[in-house]
Symmetry: C2
Subunit: 162 residues, 2 copies
């Protein structure tokens, strides 16, 4: 049985530590190793990141300097490509990667993802995204990012519950 | 006859408008159209950018969203890859592109290149690079960037004089 109501009650805690950053915190009911796999195994990643939309992972070279690229297909036929490069990959605790959406090419943010083992079988995921300018950061904030992230994380809850 | 002495007397004017930027200004004895071609035609670009080192242009999609990648081969066998994506291409006056060196993957700066027609057959080139952090900017400043740029621009002088 799915529990959409409960999931909707677990939004990520989104803050803005500086005028060029967005920080988000969210706890998942799964061990750090399982959460790490959900973030770094292309097949698993594709199952939750698109919030139900089809995601095609075209490139996913999980190592320092490696490139990644995935393409989201929306039900109404829109195609959105995203890409970047890994700056740091330290399993199972931390990775840092650049992020760029095809719709705004050349606008690159850097996201650090940290997985904190809470010691009780749960894992806290902390993402911090840094932008080149406050305007780019604000553009991301008003793009519906927070709702999209919460939908993705709810899908990740469902994946981890299987 | 080459004129290395004269060229050495024309260094770029390098300033730091903010703690995350590097601005460089340099005048070339050529029309804006010719300077634009030297910056945007892969074959010509490869002739001056490497300061005498061989440069292989692997990708050069000169349009918004297009990718570029070139690889410099030094005399002692070192290989340095550089890549990025075009944010804006407005011939013959302005282009904006991201810049990333393979040696520090995931550290991305954005460079705007503006070509100013001085009206007397000369062209002023102004580049402004923006980094994510002051530390990344300072790392670039202390990397020998200024000397390298001056050597590249001296090679561009020679190309434009042909």
């Amino acid at each position: 049985m799915t529990t959409p109501t409960k999931q909707a009650h677990r939004p990520a805690t989104v803050t803005t530590p500086t005028d060029r950053e967005i920080r988000a915190e969210r706890v998942f009911d799964a061990t750090r190793d399982r959460v790490w796999k959900a973030f770094t195994d292309p097949e698993r990643f594709a199952q939750w990141w698109g919030r139900g939309n089809r995601v095609v992972v075209e490139r996913f070279e999980l190592e320092r300097g490696g490139h990644w690229r995935y393409v989201e297909h929306t039900p109404d036929g829109e195609v959105h490509g995203f890409e970047g490069r890994f700056r740091e990959v330290t399993p199972p605790t931390r990775m840092v990667q650049t992020f760029e959406w095809d719709g705004m090419p050349g606008y690159v943010s850097v996201t650090a993802t940290e997985l904190v083992d809470l010691g009780d079988g749960r894992t806290k995921v902390v993402t911090t995204a840094l932008f080149h300018t406050p305007e780019e950061r604000d553009g991301m904030l008003t793009s519906g990012m927070e709702q999209g992230m919460n939908e993705s994380y709810a899908a990740l809850d469902r994946l981890l519950a299987r």
